[in-house]
């Protein structure tokens, strides 16, 4: 049976978007965390298509599209952790390679140590707070955090971020990394 042109055009859009997601997953090294970019690409396309079919009259916002990608990747990361099919990068063993910049060797060494501590402390924070904190520290707004992490409201996102940051700072302080500001 021939498909209608609208259906075909939408499918083209989802395929192109999925391909972009796949490229970025490899670029940002998420495949090193046990995520299979091909699986995520396919899952993103299926979820987007299902969402559109389910709610034909609903608006299809960019934030919703982003959320679909975020939740698909998070699900893939969880599956990878449970499966442990591939060895994950060992945070405790591998010192972060600091990006080259206008800083001296001493500061770079101190930075590496602090990053090491930050990674360790973040790993100890409950998962439901970890992603909101990570997004906040990367400059996402509370609304974006709520959308991407699937949090019910901006207020709930604010509480998760606030408590998570307090916990993170306390852990860093307890480990002797000093006092941090937001």
């Amino acid at each position: 049976m021939p498909r209608d042109p609208l259906h075909a055009r939408l499918e083209e859009l989802f395929v192109a978007y999925g391909a972009k997601v796949r490229r970025l997953l490899s670029t940002y090294g998420l495949d090193r965390h046990g995520v299979d970019p091909a699986d995520v690409e396919q899952e993103v396309r299926i979820r987007l298509w299902q969402a559109m079919e389910r709610d034909r009259s609903g608006a299809f916002h960019a934030s919703y599209v982003q959320r679909v990608v975020a939740t698909t990747v998070i699900d893939a990361l969880r599956r990878a952790q449970v499966r442990a099919a591939e060895p994950l990068p060992e945070a405790d063993d591998e010192a972060p390679e600091v990006a080259e910049g206008p800083i001296g060797p001493e500061q770079r060494a101190g930075d590496a140590e602090r990053m090491h501590g930050l990674m360790r402390c973040l790993g100890e924070i409950p998962e439901r707070r970890r992603l909101p904190i990570a997004l906040h520290l990367q400059g996402f707004s509370l609304q974006e955090i709520a959308d991407l992490a699937g949090i019910a409201s901006v207020e709930a996102a604010r509480k998760l971020v606030s408590r998570g940051l307090d916990e993170l700072k306390q852990r860093l302080h307890d480990l002797g990394y000093g006092h941090f500001e937001d």
């Binding site: 998420l30 916002h61 982003q66 990608v69 975020a70 998070i74 990006a99 997004l135 500001e181």
Partner: protein, 145 residues
């Protein structure tokens, strides 16, 4: 704020490093994907818009037809009722409205000539007494004699 004690600054440097945690990589990836997500959302909305417009208009018309017929009947009946009540109100209107009479107006005894033809007061007079009443006449005159 000192760059060394800024958590955001430290985290961004960590996210740029090879050993970045998955959350940091995901956040950075989503940032780069923003423009593509907006483009996809706009393309999908543009493709779906004509179908929605037609469907939405059909639905509104169907709703109008379903609701309009009873509303026409109800409004017609209400108009008839209002007209009928108006006519009845005008016809049955009393000549004196007691609520319009001032409370300090004193009541005045009606003059005697006004009561002349009144049968209630007239019944007390001689002319009104029944001529053939034997009960009263007979019994009292017999006891007194």
């Amino acid at each position: 704020m000192n760059d060394e004690t800024s958590l955001s600054s430290l985290y961004r440097r960590l996210a740029a490093s090879r050993a970045a945690p998955a959350e940091a990589r995901l956040g950075a990836m989503l940032r780069e994907l923003e423009a593509d997500s907006e483009a996809l959302a706009a393309d999908v909305a543009r493709l779906r818009r004509p179908a929605h417009a037609v469907r939405g208009r059909d639905r509104r018309h169907a709703t109008d037809r379903r609701v309009a017929a009873p509303l026409r009947w109800i409004s017609g009946l209400a108009a008839c009722l209002a007209v009928t009540l108006g006519v009845l109100a005008i016809q049955g209107q009393p000549s004196v409205r007691w609520r319009n009479v001032s409370a300090d107006v004193r009541s005045v005894a009606a003059p005697a000539h006004a009561l002349r033809g009144d049968r209630i007061f007239a019944s007390g007079g001689e002319a009104a007494a029944p001529a053939g009443d034997v009960i009263f006449r007979g019994s009292f005159s017999a006891r007194g004699s």
